[in-house]
């Protein structure tokens, strides 16, 4: 068995996902996108926790943050996969009908 397979069996395999920031979150984080590396099996919630550590000013927005994986809204409990595209988005434009 190769070293890679052994690492995967132990759950140490690194996973890379593309993270995109929009509107206020782009301004707060100072970036449009980044590549996040996490353990295989990590959830979207883990990623958000990690990014809040990296960009503490995002913490105040957590409750209203919209999250999407591969262009669909999802819950923080969803498990991420290699190559996913994650988006962190503030509530959309809204307005009075």
């Amino acid at each position: 068995m190769s070293k890679g397979h052994m690492a995967a069996r132990r759950g140490f395999r690194a996973m890379h996902v593309r993270v995109r920031f929009f509107a206020t979150y782009r301004e707060v984080s100072g970036t449009r996108q980044l590549t996040w590396s996490g353990r295989d099996g990590a959830t979207l919630g883990h990623l958000v926790d990690d990014l809040i550590t990296k960009f503490p000013r995002l913490a105040g927005y957590r409750d209203t943050m919209l999250l999407a994986v591969n262009h669909a809204f999802v819950d923080p409990s969803v498990r991420l996969r290699e190559g996913d595209e994650v988006a962190l988005m503030p509530p959309v434009s809204g307005g009075i009908p």
Binding site: R20, F22, A23, L66, A68, H71, A72, F73, A87, M89, P90, V92, S93, G94, G95, P97
Partner: protein, 136 residues
């Protein structure tokens, strides 16, 4: 027609896109940039692939939910000046009641769930006034 575009929206072309002989009504909604105090334009930012997918889905749902024949949704992105159209929705149906209902529902959904954000671009006069206020 589902589109997110930088330039001016050709409303006539959007309407023609849904026009058909068995329709007795085409309802067209234009969302325009309002001249609120100090606002010279609105700047729209979009998460393009997700917004396009959601607009396609909204148009399909509007058709099945209200029995409309066709729906077109075109939204501008980038800077849109006061008075210009920022969004156009056209809906064709057999009768006006379904067309109005589908159009109203679709516009509410666009505002509620489609990843498009707007920020106000201030007029030069408003920026000067603000600058004076903050320098004191």
């Amino acid at each position: 027609m589902i589109d997110l575009r930088r330039g001016q929206i050709d409303v006539e072309a959007v309407v023609d896109g849904v026009r058909r002989d068995d329709a007795g009504a085409i309802v067209v909604f234009l969302g325009t940039v309002r001249a609120d105090p100090g606002v010279g334009a609105l700047e729209y930012e979009v998460y393009r692939p997700m917004a396009l997918r959601m607009l396609e889905d909204l148009a399909a749902r509007a058709k099945s939910k209200f029995g409309a024949f066709d729906m077109a949704i075109v939204h501008r992105v980038g800077r849109v000046p006061v008075g210009a159209d920022s969004v156009v929705i056209a809906c064709a149906a057999a009768h006006r009641k379904e067309a109005f209902a589908a159009c109203t529902w679709a516009m509410d959904e666009v505002k509620r769930i489609v990843p498009i954000w707007k920020t106000e671009a201030r007029t030069a006069r408003s920026r000067r006034k603000r600058g004076r206020a903050t320098s004191k």
